[in-house]
């Protein structure tokens, strides 16, 4: 089943005279339960693509459908409604509210959708245990480490069981240990909950945890790689190779 379907989306900034085209007709689709990452150099438009797909930014042209409903024509209020039910977010700089405890941060999406308290509690216990942050539930964000913050952020993205989770450089600010830790958790959540994840990253190692990698160059899809049956190590090598070609450096073997 197709969770996300983008058709020829374009995005440009600026006015008529000084126009900056960031996305030049990107089409992609994501199946339910997929763990996809978007890779590309700085300025290739990958973050813009994520913003547009996640309804935070508006497209200039093209259509985006999430679970069959088109979001490109929606109004601000409908979009908010849509975001709270269908989408989850993980960001590079965590985006936790400093004044709320870990638990309160995680429960926020459930509070918007007015999920019953009991249900919220059981979901919280489950996800927090899964991500190993149950013990720190009453701490404030500035009392915990970056890895813990990012796992909190991940828990918040998963707790309301959204149709799709958008992750923008989730490992960008983490050390390698915390990063691989988080990625392991993400891929296990992807398997156990059958959650769909779309991740933007420029780190090939992070991308190698995914089932599919889409490469973007200058606002267009350059190519994509499927992990298929191969193991992560090989997939990582493939990604490295493709990235090398992408950035114009010839891969010597």
């Amino acid at each position: 089943m197709k969770i996300l379907e983008a058709n020829q989306i374009q995005k440009s900034y600026g006015n008529k005279i000084n126009k900056q085209e960031v996305l030049r007709g990107v089409s992609l689709s994501i199946e339910k339960g997929e763990f996809v990452s978007i890779m590309g150099a700085s300025g290739s438009g990958k973050t813009t693509l994520l913003n547009v797909l996640s309804s935070i930014d508006k497209v200039s042209n093209g259509t985006i459908k999430i679970e069959g409903s088109e979001i490109t024509g929606m109004r601000e209020k409908q979009l908010a409604q849509f975001r709270k039910n269908k989408l989850g977010f993980i960001f590079q700089d965590y985006n936790l509210l400093d004044t709320l405890t870990v638990k309160e941060n995680i429960l926020l999406p459930l509070s918007i959708t007015k999920t019953p308290r009991k249900e919220a509690e059981s979901r919280f216990t489950r996800i927090a245990n899964e991500l190993g942050i149950y013990e720190i539930k009453d701490k404030y964000p500035n009392e915990i480490s970056g890895g813990q913050k990012q796992r909190t952020s991940a828990a918040r993205a998963f707790i309301h069981e959204p149709s799709i989770i958008f992750a923008d450089e989730p490992t960008g600010a983490l050390d390698s240990k915390s990063a691989s830790d988080l990625l392991n958790k993400l891929s296990s959540l992807n398997e156990t909950l059958a959650a769909t994840i779309l991740m933007v990253t420029h780190d090939p190692l992070a991308a190698s945890y995914c089932s599919r990698v889409i490469f973007i160059k200058d606002g267009q899809i350059y190519t994509q790689l499927n992990k298929g049956e191969q193991d992560r190590q090989h997939f990582f090598q493939d990604i490295m190779k493709t990235q090398g070609i992408l950035s114009g450096v010839q891969y010597e073997h």
């Binding site: 935070i56 601000e76 209020k77 908010a80 409604q81 849509f82 975001r83 709270k84 039910n85 989408l87 977010f89 985006n95 936790l96 509210l97 400093d98 004044t99 709320l100 405890t101 638990k103 309160e104 995680i106 429960l107 926020l108 999406p109 459930l110 509070s111 918007i112 308290r117 919220a120 509690e121 919280f124 539930k137 009453d138 701490k139 404030y140 964000p141 500035n142 009392e143 918040r156």
Partner: protein
């Protein structure tokens, strides 16, 4: 772009941003100038003649400038911090610190002196209104003229120039002290770190609440007779002040977060949007502003209380005069009374004359006092009262062993309550006459000159009175032993009679009193107090409201990224705005509620002296709340802008 253009653009951008600051600046210049104009105004002599208005106005203008100066310093400190990024950027592109200081100096110069110019202009026209209000309120009959006073202008410019220099000095120190890195970091380092409540904070929170509660409790007991000596009374007052002020401080420091934390704990992590925006952020923010909020609450409570009390006395001036002087005019000798009445007859003014003989005697009232006054430097067994005969008062007929107390009122009555009935003893020079008190009456009989300011007048049977007057204690007697009261029949002619009274220079006599004069003087005094407290209070309200608003602006900017997160999570602008309204209800509502509660308890203690009246207090409180809400509303509008731009 050269430096001048830079300055100019900065200025334009800032004015749009800080319109409220510019407004407050203009407002304070305007008010100050108006007051100084008033001080130098020749028509002030009319006020000065009767009541020392000039001195009071001068003190007011000094207080005014103190409030304004503190406000400006504070606001400047907020703004320079906000602009630290900009200053860092200037430094980064290679400007020297002196250059930056120069830019800020010119910018502030234009702002200040522009406001000074506008302020004096508005203040000049405003001064007439102020004089009109003053005249109206103090009952001075005069025509308010517009006088432009050069002295006032010079003084205003001088004072604000000094403030400007100080502010530039502050900025200079600020810029000198900063490194480029610091400047970029300043906003984040200023915020206190968010962490869990410690036991210490919980204790502070509880102490704060108990402090305020205890202060209130003692203040309501203040005049119930629990504190009898003056030392005890002053001790209690000092305790109330200390407990309430310290309690308020600790309340902001700990109690708010303590209470909010309790609420949060009960939610068990499941917060709705209102709670996210209000509970969690106020918990941490109020702590860092506790000193500021304490000052704002205490001073505004003081202003409300003073204003309510002077309002009460202003409106009870006439009633007070009536209880103090039973007739329109009163005299102590028949010559004075004759002089006056002769002139009245000549001018065809109809009048009634009352003549009452008064003997001063010691009375033992120990048994009818409700409280025990052993410690007071006053002996209830030998209380000196004015005694009159039943024949002097219409409608009173007493038995030989009966007595009636009349006109016991005001503060003294609450301070030293008496029973309605009981036994008292009248001491003549060589015998004690036991009498039965049959009641307390309200009717004033003789003027306050005879009754030691507010003690009751004792009415006795004619026989007892005769016995007393032949055997009176000469040491106690006053210069006048007879009270002459003159009542003017037509109230329209009282003014005319009062002129006669003054023409005859009767006011120079010791026992001569004019009720009209007393009421006018009281009114003028209280009116001036009301006027001064009112304007000072208004200035304080506006400046403190501005400061709270600026603080909220800062908070809004700081929390902007939170709104971004929340909107990404799917909260609509409307959701956030509702949450912000809730937050502002607390941010402005808590200091307001505390201020109102403080002033209520202060006024309540004051009722003891001034008499109970709800209307003036409620009026003042409502006006205060309304003005205060304006700032709350403005801040919500500002937040709305921030929220809109958050995604």
């Amino acid at each position: 772009m050269n430096i001048n253009q830079l300055i100019f653009r900065n200025l334009l951008k800032n004015i749009k941003h800080y319109y409220l600051y510019v407004f407050a600046l203009i407002f304070s210049v305007c008010l100050y100038f108006a007051f100084v104009t008033l001080q130098y105004d020749p028509s002030m002599d009319a006020v000065e003649g009767t009541i020392k208005g000039g001195a009071a106005i001068r003190v007011t203008s000094i207080l005014l400038i103190v409030i304004v100066a503190i406000f400006l310093f504070y606001a400047n400190a907020i703004f320079i911090k906000r602009r630290s990024k900009e200053i860092g950027l200037f430094q980064l592109i290679g400007m020297t610190k002196d250059r930056i200081f120069w830019i800020l100096g010119v910018e502030n110069f234009i702002l200040y002196f522009g406001a000074l110019f506008l302020g004096t202009f508005v203040g000049f026209s405003f001064s007439k209104l102020i004089i009109l209000v003053l005249f109206k309120i103090t009952g001075v009959k005069g025509i308010a003229k517009l006088h432009f006073s050069t002295e006032a202008l010079v003084q205003t410019i001088l004072v604000f120039a000094v403030i400007y220099i100080f502010i530039m000095l502050m900025n200079y120190v600020f810029i000198k002290r900063q490194t480029i890195l610091n400047l970029f970091r300043v906003t984040s380092s200023a915020e206190s770190r968010v962490k869990n409540m410690s036991v210490f904070e919980i204790i502070i929170g509880i102490i704060g609440l108990t402090g305020i509660g205890l202060g209130y409790y003692v203040s309501s007991k203040l005049f119930d007779g629990d504190f009898q000596t003056m030392t005890e009374l002053f001790g209690a007052m000092a305790f109330i002040l200390g407990a309430v002020i310290l309690g308020t401080y600790l309340f902001y420091k700990g109690s708010v977060s303590f209470l909010f934390n309790l609420v949060r704990k009960s939610k068990n992590g499941y917060l709705n949007i209102n709670e996210v925006l209000s509970l969690s952020s106020i918990m941490f923010k109020m702590k860092s502003n506790s000193l500021l909020l304490t000052i704002i609450t205490t001073v505004s409570a003081l202003a409300i209380a003073l204003l309510s009390l002077s309002y009460i006395s202003y409106y009870s001036a006439e009633k007070n005069a009536e209880t103090s002087i039973p007739a329109n005019f009163s005299f102590g000798t028949s010559e004075e009374a004759r002089l006056f009445t002769d002139q009245l007859t000549k001018d065809k003014i109809a009048y009634d004359e009352t003549k009452i003989d008064v003997v001063i005697a010691d009375i033992n009232i120990g048994k009818i006092l409700e409280a025990d006054f052993n410690n007071l430097n006053f002996d209830p067994n030998m209380t000196t009262l004015a005694v009159v005969s039943e024949n002097s008062i219409k409608g009173v007929d007493l038995e030989a062993d009966e007595t009636l107390f009349t006109n016991y009122d005001g503060a003294l009555k609450k301070f030293m309550p008496m029973k309605n009935t009981g036994n008292v003893t009248l001491e003549t020079k060589d015998e004690s006459i036991p009498l039965r008190l049959i009641g307390l009456d309200d009717v004033p009989v003789v003027s306050y000159k005879y009754t030691a300011g507010g003690m009751p007048t004792m009415i006795v049977d004619d026989i007892v009175y005769d016995k007393l007057s032949t055997n009176k204690n000469d040491k106690l007697q006053l210069a006048s032993s007879t009270y002459f009261g003159v009542d003017i029949n037509k109230s329209a002619e009282i003014d005319k009679a009062n002129d006669i009274y003054h023409d005859l220079k009767l006011e120079e006599q010791d026992f001569s009193l004019s009720r009209l004069d007393m009421a006018t003087t009281n009114k003028a005094n209280m009116g001036l107090t009301m006027f001064i407290v009112g304007f000072l209070g208004l200035t304080f309200l506006i400046t403190s409201g501005c400061i709270l608003y600026f603080k909220q602006m800062d908070e809004g900017e700081e929390e902007k990224h939170n709104y971004t997160i929340l909107r990404k999570l799917g909260y609509t602008k409307g959701d956030l705005l509702r949450g912000i309204q809730g937050k502002q209800l607390f941010s402005f509502g808590i200091p307001l509620a505390i201020g109102l509660a403080h002033s209520y308890f202060a006024v309540q203690s004051g009722w003891f002296f001034f008499g109970t009246a709800w209307t003036p207090m409620l009026t003042v409180m409502v006006v205060y709340t309304l003005l205060y809400s304006i700032f709350g509303l403005l801040s919500v509008l500002y937040y709305k802008k921030v929220i809109n731009s958050a995604l």
